[in-house]
């Protein structure tokens, strides 16, 4: 029991550090991520270049940090649209009841026949691949499932005796929702959010790897893997590090949410 708790704390701390580095990538990198420096190409890990350089002498850590910042933007958009939007819609449907509920649920079921990644693929084909378009597409694709889940969750909680008591006491609706409904929905919602973020990281990397409608010089993790593909024999580090950048946060999230 104690061991499991320690593991989770460790995972949480590592994830916080990792996300911190991703956020830092928005503002600052040790080197200009696009600066070509041919004399030091394929430089190994050193004090000057903490993660070495790539085939053009660009600093790998700086590029990974920019990729992290872009991935973080995707996650913010996915969370804002999919999680917040979906939760609001699902909960509102549960509260509204009657025909509104039925219409919302039918609509929410519809996108299930369109896989998330295909929606994002089509969207980036039309609008080009930027963190914003990918995030909006992935968020919209996740809206339906989220709304369905939030709806069933809210329905279950609204039927509980303590909600009835809150209503009977004449508490104002916002207080009922914020103090009694939301805290009870939160554990499940956070688990779903974690899984969704993990999927979105891999999905965005896949889109960038495919390079559909993307500017290939941008240092997205997936695009870097595509660009460094030929060096898998001579410099496996170039393949390993962006792969780790994708796999590490997803693993940490999985460890945290998988009770």
């Amino acid at each position: 029991m104690i061991r499991a708790l320690t593991w989770r704390r460790l995972a949480l701390a590592s994830l916080a550090v990792f996300v911190g580095a991703m956020a830092l990538g928005c503002l600052w990198q040790p080197y200009d991520p696009a600066a070509v420096d041919l004399p030091v190409r394929h430089a190994p890990i050193s004090a000057a270049h903490p993660l070495g350089t790539d085939h053009l002498g660009r600093d790998l850590l700086s590029r990974l940090m920019v990729g992290g910042a872009r991935t973080l933007m995707v996650l913010l958009a996915v969370t804002a649209i999919g999680s917040f939007g979906g939760t609001l819609i699902g909960t509102a449907a549960a509260l509204a009841g009657s025909w509104v509920e039925i219409v919302v649920l039918r609509l929410a079921e519809l996108p299930i026949v369109l896989p998330t990644l295909v929606v994002a693929l089509a969207a980036s084909a039309v609008f080009g691949l930027t963190p914003l378009t990918a995030g909006i597409a992935l968020g919209l694709a996740g809206l339906g499932p989220y709304a369905l889940m939030a709806h069933s969750l809210a329905c279950g909680i609204l039927a509980q005796p303590y909600m009835e008591a809150a209503r009977g006491l004449g508490l104002p609706l916002p207080r009922q929702l914020l103090h009694h409904l939301l805290p009870n929905m939160l554990p499940v919602l956070l688990t779903q959010l974690g899984g969704n973020c993990g999927q979105s990281i891999v999905a965005y990397a896949s889109l960038a790897f495919l390079g559909v409608g993307a500017d290939t010089s941008t240092p997205d993790w997936g695009a870097m893997l595509f660009e460094y593909r030929p060096f898998i024999f001579d410099d496996p580090r170039l393949m390993l590090l962006p792969g780790l950048a994708i796999a590490l946060p997803v693993t940490l999230i999985s460890v945290l949410i998988d009770a």
Binding site: L110, P115, V118, A122, G198, A203, F209, F233, I246, S254
Partner: protein, 315 residues
């Protein structure tokens, strides 16, 4: 018998409704795109860039009509099998996609089959001894399958098989590459499916029928093997839906990585040419595949669980 027919009819009606819904999503793609399809076609086919030609093309594709008539024009031709012409190859989109569909379907169905075939024994072994070695291994597998992108694993395997051991020819389409694609797509789903199967089996242990079988004096493992499977298979089928969606999306990166000429590879190649008819058709084909899988899953629930047969309807 009558119930089965009603259920089948309901499934077909739901499938048509679902497809119509998706067509309403797929259709505006051509309207919101930044470029004019007639202009793209004139450039792609080296047609004389006159207003007359552009007007003719727009008329042929119904782009000069009001919005709702455009939709009717498109969906009418779509139903009749006229899916437009690829700007890039100059061939009808329907023929291009049909030509490539067997490979993509083979990879998708094969991968789901392999994943299910491996998830069942793995889930069983994990459920037999919760927190045992197999259980912990399957948990690690589930996390790894989610965290490692299939294209990354594919690159690593390609390097091992084609360069280190020289057992695979990476340049020409061959059975080995298709098998590798199946393995890669299956790996992504295997972890989740094995965990779902394990949970289904453990839930079965709490059911009354399970205790009745134990009370008969059967050893616990025999009961789990004989009576747990049906229960867990329902859970497995339900989560297969989501996995089928990821199998298609994940297959796109694998097809591109291995150079396999499937429908997703065709889409990725078409995007650079702004081939919007291909994009519309692709979205519809994927929706049909998802609806077919949903229908197959929905119809097989009553086969697995006799309790669902009496009403013929599953909420």
């Amino acid at each position: 018998m009558r119930e089965t027919l009603t259920a089948a009819l309901g499934t077909v009606l739901r499938a048509i409704a679902g497809l119509l819904g998706v067509s309403l999503i797929a259709f505006p793609i051509i309207r919101v795109m930044p470029a004019d399809p007639a202009a793209v076609a004139i450039r792609a086919w080296n047609l004389p860039a006159t207003d007359e030609v552009a007007r003719g093309l727009r008329q042929e594709w119904g782009l000069d009509l009001p919005f709702y008539r455009q939709y009717l024009h498109w969906i009418g031709r779509f139903v009749l099998g006229d899916w437009g012409v690829s700007f890039r190859t100059g061939l009808p989109v329907l023929r291009e996609l049909l030509h490539r569909l067997p490979l993509s379907l083979g990879i998708g169905v094969g991968a789901l089959g392999v994943a299910v075939a491996l998830a069942v024994p793995l889930g069983f072994l994990a459920a037999r001894r919760p927190a045992g070695l197999v259980d912990r291994l399957s948990r690690v597998l589930a996390i790894a399958a989610k965290a490692i992108p299939s294209f990354w694993l594919g690159l690593a395997l390609l390097w091992l098989l084609a360069v280190r051991w020289r057992v695979l020819d990476p340049l020409n389409e061959n059975a080995g590459l298709v098998a590798l694609a199946v393995v890669l797509v299956a790996f992504t789903s295997l972890g989740t499916l094995a965990r779902v199967y394990r949970r289904g089996l453990i839930e079965a242990e709490r059911q009354p029928f399970f205790r009745a079988a134990l009370a008969k004096g059967l050893p616990p493992e025999t009961v789990l093997w004989r009576h747990g499977h049906r229960h867990a298979a329902c859970a497995l089928l339900a989560s297969l839906r989501a996995e089928a969606g990821w199998a298609i999306g994940g297959a796109a990166t694998v097809e591109v990585l291995l150079g396999l000429p499937g429908i997703s590879q065709f889409l990725v190649q078409s995007v650079a040419a702004r081939d919007y008819f291909v994009l519309q058709a692709y979205v519809m084909v994927v929706a049909m595949w998802m609806i077919a899988i949903n229908a197959a899953i929905g119809l097989s629930f009553p086969l697995l669980d006799p309790r669902l047969r009496s009403t013929g309807e599953r909420s």
